[in-house]
């Protein structure tokens, strides 16, 4: 995925929405900034297919040596696919967070817009402020 084409949550998740014959499908992952901040990933806990997720609410957790953080869903909907490969191979998330390191795919509930999400420029501004 091209980081320019993604939307970002304040809590460092990214989302990409595709139009499909079945409706809108969102792919969700965490950003390169987040993986760098975490550095030593030791565990990722992801939900099962069929789990309902809610925007701004946790759908899983990501753990580093030093701390554990919630993974928050940027969207409302139902989990239709989970990238189980990354839970066994955490490097994939660190090395390719916007590609092979995606975490879940969510079938969006309804036609709701995606409020409270940022474009790349706004997100990068937030990250710079956080670093200072």
């Amino acid at each position: 995925m091209n980081p320019d084409d993604l939307l970002y949550a304040e809590t460092h998740e990214w989302v990409h929405v595709d139009e499909t014959p079945d409706g809108k499908l969102a792919t969700v992952g965490i950003t390169a900034f987040a993986t760098e901040l975490l550095t030593d990933l030791v565990h990722i806990d992801l939900p099962a297919v069929g789990t309902a997720v809610e925007a701004g609410q946790p759908f899983g957790e990501v753990e580093s040596v030093k701390s554990v953080s919630d993974l928050n869903s940027p969207v409302d909907g139902e989990v239709v696919d989970v990238n189980d490969a990354v839970t066994e191979q955490l490097d994939t998330v660190s090395n390719d967070p916007f590609g092979k390191g995606w975490l879940i795919k969510v079938k969006l509930a309804g036609e709701a817009a995606l409020p409270n999400l940022m474009d790349r420029a706004a997100y990068e501004t937030q990250c710079r402020e956080q670093e200072e």
Binding site: T39, V42, V65, K66, V68
Partner: protein, 388 residues
């Protein structure tokens, strides 16, 4: 930079840490590097080669004068009067109830004029509390009692201290000091000449001590030469695989080694026997604060004991996680991390004694979900060659 950050204390290595990409965090009021690259890489390099950590934030309290030995004997849980030149001893400071105020290292040396002095190394988080405690027990009439004078100085800011830890630490440091390091015993120190122009002919103290479970040394040098000496060691260490290690790796290393940390396993509500530190209490000599309380506590059956846990799953049980036996709370995790050596989550905890049998499986409440954990003996990690 906000005001809070600006108010943080800095060690003489602060600029070096920032220039080398360290992630700086607040630690007990100091701006300290938590990691430079990766905690796991810094941990593994310390186990396999050698790591160097800036520990200049640790409090260093110096006591000298003819009354110093007795004063310290009446402050610390362990006697000091029988210490030999250059010996170092682990000890505790307890309050009147026997609760642990700090755990410390006491070193005994003589200065160039042959006058003895003691250096007590205290936790950064407790430095101000212990300084106040010393002053409370050392009013002027006591400090200046003729023939028994005690001169107390907080020398923390005058001296920098580096922990050089790992199997290659002797090889790394030997060219730098005029002391025979291979023959130095564990928990011994020496005042050394530092054989490098960076030291500007100043001396330092090197001791075979550490907080990692590896062979290694702690080196104290004057604050004004600290950055240059650090750089010299970094240069010498490069071919040996030396890495600078932050406080993140220091924590995972000490946890694998089963060593307690103040604010986790130790605090004023924990007594030395519960913590498994009864060896550091000498209850028949000088009367120190808490001695009588500890005599009573020692005779009572232990309710809680310090244990090691290995998690069955991948989720880490961290400080404050409750341990359950059936529906009863039977203990609480004090420190937890992912062990880079064992490649699984480990934790230390206080557990009710009747459950504390190695091999027992308990449940830990990790953020609302029960995770199985197995009790294992401490330490989690023991190096192969315990020679020194």
């Amino acid at each position: 930079m906000d005001e809070q950050q600006a108010a943080r204390l800095r060690t003489p290595l602060y600029e070096w840490h920032v220039a080398h990409g360290a992630r700086m965090v607040d630690f007990a009021g100091w701006s300290m590097p938590i990691q430079y690259t990766s905690i796991i890489d810094e941990h593994v390099a310390t186990r396999n080669a050698v790591g160097m950590t800036d520990i200049s934030h640790m409090g260093r309290l110096r006591f000298e004068g003819p009354g110093a030995a007795v004063f310290l004997a009446e402050l610390l849980t362990r006697r000091v009067g029988d210490m030999q030149e250059s010996q170092i001893r682990y000890s505790l400071v307890t309050n009147e109830q026997g609760g642990i105020m700090d755990d410390v290292l006491v070193g005994y040396y003589h200065n160039a004029n042959g006058q003895p002095f003691y250096v007590v190394v205290v936790n950064a988080s407790n430095r101000r509390k212990i300084v106040d405690w010393v002053h409370a027990h050392l009013p002027p009439e006591r400090a200046e009692r003729p023939g028994h004078e005690v001169i107390f100085t907080d020398v923390t800011r005058l001296w920098s201290m580096f922990a050089v830890q790992g199997p290659r630490s002797v090889e790394l440091l030997q060219p730098l000091v005029d002391v025979e390091l291979p023959w130095m015993r564990y928990y011994r120190g020496a005042q050394a000449r530092i054989l490098h122009p960076a030291a500007q002919r100043q001396g330092g103290i090197v001791s075979r001590t550490g907080y990692t479970g590896e062979d290694g040394f702690e080196l104290s040098v004057g604050a004004t030469i600290a950055a240059d000496v650090w750089n010299a060691i970094v240069e010498l260490g490069r071919p040996l695989g030396l890495v600078p290690a932050g406080l993140g790796a220091r924590d995972t290393l000490r946890l694998e080694a089963g060593m307690p940390l103040y604010g986790h396993e130790l605090d004023e509500h924990v007594d030395p026997f519960q913590a498994g530190l009864g060896f550091a209490c000498h209850l028949t000599g000088y009367d120190f604060p808490g001695r009588d309380a500890l005599r009573t506590i020692r005779e009572q059956p232990r309710k809680l004991v310090r244990v090691g846990l290995e998690m069955t799953g991948r989720r880490v049980a961290r400080q404050g996680a409750r341990i359950l036996g059936g529906t009863d709370t039977i203990g609480e995790v004090t420190s937890g991390t992912f062990s880079p050596t064992l490649k699984k989550p480990i934790a230390m905890a206080y557990l009710r004694r009747e459950y504390a049998e190695p091999g027992t499986v308990v449940s830990v409440d990790v953020r609302g979900r029960m995770e199985p954990a197995r009790l294992v003996p401490l330490p989690f990690y023991r190096r192969n060659n315990q020679g020194a």
